[in-house]
C-alpha cells in the first residue's frame, strides 16, 4: 500500500520499536497515534507508550516540556511497547538529550537540524552541537532540516509561519512512514476528516508536509534502506486500535446495555483518570449521565445515591482522589449497594508524579477504609483488557451487591493495542433483578440474603418496599439499626464471607507455561506484557518458569494456593515496594521474591528477564 514503488532495498524485519519525541507543542502524540493506527491497519501487532510531560506545559524547548510516544510493531504477537528503541525521531535538542539513551546502538536517529540553534542547545544543556561533535557516532544519524523543508513544502498554502511550523510533525511522520514502508492513506484520511472541511488550508499544508517527508525518504541518499514488518498472525476478526481508558469507558457502556441499565458516572477530574469522564460524556445517547462533581467525596457519594436509585453507578479517579473516597466506600460497603470504583493509578505518595504510572494503590484498595470493610478488587492487564474487566466488575458488583474496586494504571490507561472488536451479541447479558411491588403489608426485609449472601436491590418507586439504608450497623435480615453486640460480629463476618465467596464464581487461575517448575512469575496489572514476554523468552531459553497474571486480587482464585505448591520460587514484579507480595505472604504463608521499581516507568522485558535468569 505504499504510495510509490520503492527504489531502495527493503529489509524485512520481525518487529521494530520507534519513538517520536519533541516539545509538547510539536504534536508528537498525534504522530505516534497515526503511526500506530497505520501499523495496526497494516496488520501488525502493536503496543504503545505515550509519555507526557508533567502536568504543566513548560516553556518551549525545555527538557521539562518534552513529550514522547513509543510504538512497538511486529509481525508476531507482542505485549509491550518495547524496551529499547530502533528508530528515534527527535524534534529538538531537549528531546534528543532526554531520549537518546533509549536508542539501541546502531539505531536510526532522525533529528530536526534546524532546532539546534544556540538557545535550543542551551536549554537542553548541550555545550557543543551534538549533531556536529562525535557524541552520536554510535547511531545512524540523519540530521534533517525539517523546519526549512516543511516551510518550503507548505509555502503556497497561505499559512503564517507559526502555522507552517505546526506541520513539521507531518513531515516527520511522512519520513518515518517511508522508512517502515507504511501507507500514507490512513493519515491522509485523518487529515481530511479533521481539517478538510473546516480548515482546508491546514489540510492542504499537512498533506504536503506529510508527502514531503515521504519523498524525502525516497530521495535522499543518506537514508539507504527501507524496512518492512509483515502483518502478524492475530486471531481472525475485526480489529481496531484502542487505548486503555477508552476501552474501560466502552466496557462500562457495554455493561450498562447488557444489564439494561442507565449508566451514571460521578467523577472529579484527575490525571490520568479524566479521560474516562471525557469519553463517557460523549455518549449520552447510550443513556449515560456524567456528573462532574465538586470533589471526589461528592463523586463517591453521588455514586452511592445513583446506586440506590437503581442505576449502574460508577466513579473513577486516581490515588489521591481514591484516598478521599475512603469514608464513602465504607458507606457503600455497609449499605451493600452495587457500584464500580475505578482507580487509574499514578505515582504517589501525595501528588507524587501525577502523569507517571505506578501500582502503589493496591494496599489502599484493600484496606484504605475504617473498620472491617471488605471489597472485591480486580485489575486490568492491558489496554484492551480494560474492556473485559469493566464488564466483570459490574457483573460481580450486581451479583454480590457490593462496590467493586477496579484497578488500572497510567501505563495501561494511556497505552494502546489492537483490539479484536467483540460481537456485541456474543457478550453475555448481566442479569439484574429488582424485587417488584409488594402489597401484602409485611415489612420488607432489605437485608435478607440469597445463597450468595447477596441482599435484594429494591429501588425507590417500588410500592411496598419502602426501607431506610445507612451507615450504622444493620440488623441481620431486617436491616434496622442495631447495636446488638453479636449481631455486629455476625454482620462483620457475613460481609467478609460474602466477598470471600466470590471465589466460587470466578474462573480458576490460568497458568502460562508448565504446571510446575523452578519459578513462578506472579504479576498483576500493567507489568503483564513485560512479564509475559520475559517468561516466553526464558521458556524458549529452556528455563523452567511459568507465569500467572492475576485479574482477581480479592478474593484470589481458589486454585492459587495449590499452584504455589508446585513451584520452588515465586517472583512478584510490581511497580511499588512489594504490595501484592505482602498480601500473598499474609494470605498463603509462602515466601515470595519481590522485584520492585517505582520510577514512574513500566518494567522493561530485560529487567524481568534478568531477574528470572538470576532465579531459575
Amino acid at each position: 500500500m505504499a504510495t510509490s514503488t520503492p527504489t531502495k532495498p527493503i529489509t524485512s524485519i520481525e518487529e521494530a520499536t520507534i519513538r517520536f519525541c519533541g516539545d509538547s507543542g510539536d504534536g508528537m502524540q498525534l504522530a505516534g497515534t497515526q503511526f500506530t493506527n497505520t501499523s495496526a491497519l497494516l496488520g501488525n501487532d502493536v503496543a504503545t507508550f505515550p509519555d507526557f510531560p508533567a502536568e504543566i506545559r513548560a516553556p518551549r524547548g525545555t527538557k521539562a516540556g518534552v513529550s514522547g510516544f513509543q510504538i512497538h510493531f511486529s509481525s508476531h504477537e507482542i505485549f509491550t511497547p518495547g524496551d529499547t528503541v530502533d528508530a528515534l525521531v527527535a524534534m529538538n535538542p531537549a528531546a534528543l538529550t532526554t531520549n537518546v539513551t533509549d536508542l539501541r546502538d546502531g539505531g536510526i536517529l532522525i533529528v530536526n537540524k534546524n532546532a539546534f540553534d544556540k538557545k535550543g542547545m542551551e536549554q537542553a544543556g548541550y555545550a557543543s552541537n551534538p549533531l556536529e561533535d562525535d557524541s552520536l557516532a554510535k547511531y545512524k544519524l540523519h540530521s534533517v532540516e525539517m523546519t526549512k523543508i516543511t516551510r518550503l513544502a507548505v509555502e503556497d498554502c497561505g499559512l503564517t509561519q507559526k502555522e507552517a511550523d505546526r506541520c513539521r510533525n507531518f513531515f516527520a511522520m511522512g519520513l518515518v512512514f517511508w522508512l517502515y514502508d507504511r501507507s500514507l492513506d490512513p493519515t491522509l484520511r485523518f487529515i481530511e476528516k479533521k481539517f478538510g472541511a473546516k480548515f482546508p488550508a491546514v489540510a492542504q499544508a499537512n498533506t504536503k508536509a506529510l508527502k514531503a517527508g515521504y519523498h524525502y525518504g525516497e530521495t535522499v541518499e543518506a537514508i539507504n534502506t527501507q524496512y518492512q514488518v509483515a502483518p502478524a498472525k492475530l486471531p481472525p476478526g475485526q480489529y481496531r486500535n484502542i487505548m486503555g481508558n477508552i476501552a474501560l469507558a466502552w466496557g462500562l457502556l457495554t455493561a450498562a446495555q447488557k444489564s439494561n441499565k442507565q449508566l451514571f458516572l460521578g467523577a472529579y477530574p484527575i490525571t490520568p483518570a479524566s479521560d474516562v469522564l471525557h469519553e463517557l460524556s460523549k455518549h449520552k445517547h447510550f443513556d449515560v449521565l456524567t456528573f462532574q462533581a465538586e470533589d471526589e467525596i461528592a463523586a463517591m457519594t453521588s455514586t452511592i445515591g445513583a446506586a440506590f436509585a437503581g442505576a449502574m453507578s460508577v466513579t473513577a479517579s486516581s490515588g489521591p482522589g481514591i484516598a478521599l473516597k475512603g469514608e464513602g466506600l465504607g458507606l457503600a460497603v455497609i449499605t451493600e449497594l452495587p457500584m464500580v470504583v475505578v482507580n487509574v493509578q499514578r505515582g504517589g505518595p501525595s501528588t507524587g508524579l501525577p502523569t507517571k504510572t505506578e501500582q502503589s494503590d493496591l494496599l489502599q484498595a484493600m484496606y484504605g477504609r475504617n473498620g472491617e470493610c471488605p471489597m472485591p478488587v480486580i485489575a486490568a492487564s492491558s489496554p484492551g483488557d480494560c474492556f473485559d474487566v469493566a464488564l466483570e466488575a459490574w457483573r460481580l458488583a450486581v451479583r454480590y451487591m457490593t462496590p467493586v474496586m477496579l484497578l488500572t494504571d497510567g501505563y495501561i490507561a494511556n497505552g494502546s493495542e489492537p483490539w479484536r472488536i467483540p460481537e456485541v451479541a456474543d457478550i453475555p447479558k448481566i442479569p439484574v433483578e429488582h424485587p417488584g411491588p409488594s402489597s401484602n403489608g409485611d415489612a420488607f426485609q432489605p437485608y435478607e440474603r440469597d445463597e450468595r449472601l447477596s441482599r435484594p436491590w429494591a429501588i425507590p418507586g417500588t410500592t411496598g418496599l419502602e426501607h431506610r439504608l445507612g451507615g450504622l450497623e444493620k440488623q441481620d435480615v431486617s436491616g434496622n439499626v442495631c447495636y446488638d453486640p453479636d449481631n455486629h460480629d455476625h454482620m462483620c463476618r457475613l460481609r467478609a464471607e460474602k466477598v470471600a465467596r466470590i471465589a466460587n464464581d470466578i474462573p480458576p487461575q490460568e497458568l502460562d507455561g508448565p504446571d510446575s517448575g523452578d519459578l513462578l512469575v506472579l504479576s498483576w496489572g500493567g507489568p503483564y506484557g513485560a512479564c509475559a514476554t520475559a517468561v516466553h523468552r526464558a521458556q524458549a531459553d529452556g528455563k523452567n518458569v511459568s507465569h500467572c497474571q492475576l485479574r482477581y486480587l480479592n478474593p484470589f482464585p481458589k486454585n492459587l494456593a495449590e499452584i504455589f505448591t508446585r513451584f520452588d520460587k515465586v517472583l512478584i514484579p510490581e511497580l511499588n515496594l512489594g504490595q501484592l507480595s505482602r498480601i500473598i505472604r499474609a494470605e498463603f504463608k509462602i515466601d515470595t521474591i519481590s522485584l520492585n521499581k517505582v520510577t514512574g516507568k513500566p518494567f522493561s522485558v530485560a529487567e524481568i528477564l534478568e531477574k528470572i535468569e538470576e532465579l531459575a
Partner: protein
C-alpha cells in the same frame, strides 16, 4: 402505578415508620417530624416515590422515622448522595435533612454546589446552633462567645448565616421557619415541595439538652411577634404584637419604623420573593435580632431557573434524538478498523 388508579388516601400516621423515635424528650425535632408527616399526604406523591436523605447528627436520624425510602448517609454528604439519586431519578421527590453542623460545617461544600446547580431537592436544615449528637460542641451558627464543650472560653468563630450563604450560592428558593410555629412550618415545607429546583429551608430548632433556649426570643409567646416578621409576597414588611411596626429602606439599609406618625404602609419595604436579582433576599437575610431587627420567617426568595437534574436528562434525550439510541456495534467500529482473516 397507572395514571387512573386513584392514589390511596393516606394519613400522617401512614408516614410513620415502625422504628422508635429516639430523640431526647422535648427536642424540637419531634415537632418538625410531626409537621413533615402532616404535609406528606397533601403532596399528591405516592409514598414510594418519596425519599429522605440525611447526613449524621440528631436531626439526620429523621429518615428512619419516615415510612418512605431513605438513607442515613455519612456526615455532611447528604446533598451529594441526593444529587446522584435525583439525577438518575428525576421522577422521585427527594428531601434532604441536615443540621447546622452536618450541612454547614463538614457538608458546606456539597450544600453550596447542590444549591448553585439548582438540583430539584428540598433541603431542610435543622438549626439548633450546636452539635447535638456529639454532645454539645459549638457549630458554625453558634454565636461569638458561646461557651461549649470545645470552647470553654467562648467561641471565636464568626457565625455563618445559613440563608445569606445560600443566597451567596445562587439559591432559587430560600425560606425560614421555626419548629414550634407548627402552622407556619407546615406551610413552609409545603411551599418548598412545590418549588422546582433547590428549596433551602432553615428551621430554628431547639436542642433542649445542649443549647436550650437558643431561639427563645423567636419562640416565646411574649416576644415572638416583635422579634420575628412574617414575609408575604407583595406585602409590606409589618410586624409587632399590634402590627404597628415596619421595615423601611434607607438607601440600602433597612430600618425599623413605627407606623402612624406620618409613616404609612406605602413607605415600607414590600416583599418580592420573585425578584430576579437576589439582593432583596440577601438584605432580608441580614436582619438579625441582636441588631435590633425582627428576623424574617417565610419565603425570602422563590424564582424559577433551570435545574441540573432536568437539564442533564434533557441532554440524554437530545443526544438520543440526534444520534439515535446508542449502538455499541457502531461505536466499536468508529474510526479505523481492519480485518484479520
Amino acid at each position: 402505578m397507572s395514571i387512573d388508579t386513584p392514589l390511596p388516601v393516606l394519613k400522617p400516621a401512614d408516614f410513620a415508620s415502625d422504628q422508635d423515635v429516639r430523640w431526647c424528650p422535648g427536642c424540637g425535632d419531634y415537632s418538625i417530624l410531626a409537621q413533615m408527616k402532616k404535609v406528606m399526604p397533601t403532596l399528591g406523591v405516592p409514598r414510594e416515590n418519596i425519599v429522605f436523605i440525611s447526613g449524621i447528627g440528631c436531626s439526620s436520624r429523621f429518615p428512619y422515622y419516615m415510612n418512605t425510602y431513605g438513607m442515613h448517609s455519612i456526615h455532611g454528604r447528604a446533598p451529594a448522595v441526593a444529587t446522584g439519586l435525583k439525577t438518575c431519578r428525576p421522577d422521585l421527590m427527594v428531601w434532604v435533612i441536615t443540621g447546622d453542623g452536618d450541612g454547614l460545617s463538614i457538608g458546606g461544600n456539597h450544600l453550596m454546589h447542590c444549591i448553585r446547580r439548582n438540583m430539584d431537592l428540598n433541603i431542610v436544615l435543622f438549626n439548633n446552633r450546636i452539635y447535638g449528637l456529639t454532645k454539645g460542641q459549638y457549630s458554625p451558627t453558634s454565636p461569638l462567645g458561646k461557651v461549649t464543650k470545645s470552647t470553654p472560653m467562648g467561641a471565636i468563630d464568626n457565625p455563618l448565616h445559613p440563608l445569606s450563604l445560600a443566597i451567596g450560592c445562587e439559591a432559587t428558593f430560600v425560606a425560614r421557619s421555626i419548629d414550634t410555629n407548627v402552622k407556619h412550618l407546615a406551610s413552609t415545607l409545603k411551599r418548598a415541595s412545590e418549588h422546582h429546583g433547590t428549596s433551602f429551608i432553615e428551621v430554628y430548632q431547639n436542642c433542649n439538652i445542649f443549647n436550650d433556649g437558643a431561639w427563645a426570643y423567636a419562640k416565646d409567646r411574649e416576644t415572638k411577634l416583635d422579634t420575628t416578621i412574617e414575609l408575604e409576597h407583595g406585602k409590606p414588611l409589618i410586624f409587632g404584637k399590634n402590627r404597628d411596626k415596619g421595615i423601611r429602606l434607607n438607601g440600602l439599609e433597612p430600618e425599623v419604623v413605627e407606623l402612624g406618625k406620618g409613616i404609612t404602609e406605602d413607605d415600607l419595604l414590600f416583599h418580592n420573593e420573585k425578584s430576579p436579582e437576589p439582593s432583596l433576599a440577601y438584605l432580608l437575610s441580614r436582619m438579625r435580632f441582636e441588631d435590633g431587627f425582627p428576623e424574617p420567617i417565610g419565603v425570602f426568595r422563590s424564582v424559577d431557573a433551570p435545574r441540573y437534574d432536568e437539564m442533564i436528562n434533557d441532554q440524554v434525550k437530545q443526544a438520543t434524538k440526534e444520534k439515535g439510541k446508542g449502538d455499541l456495534e457502531a461505536l466499536f467500529n468508529t474510526g479505523e478498523t481492519w480485518t484479520v482473516k
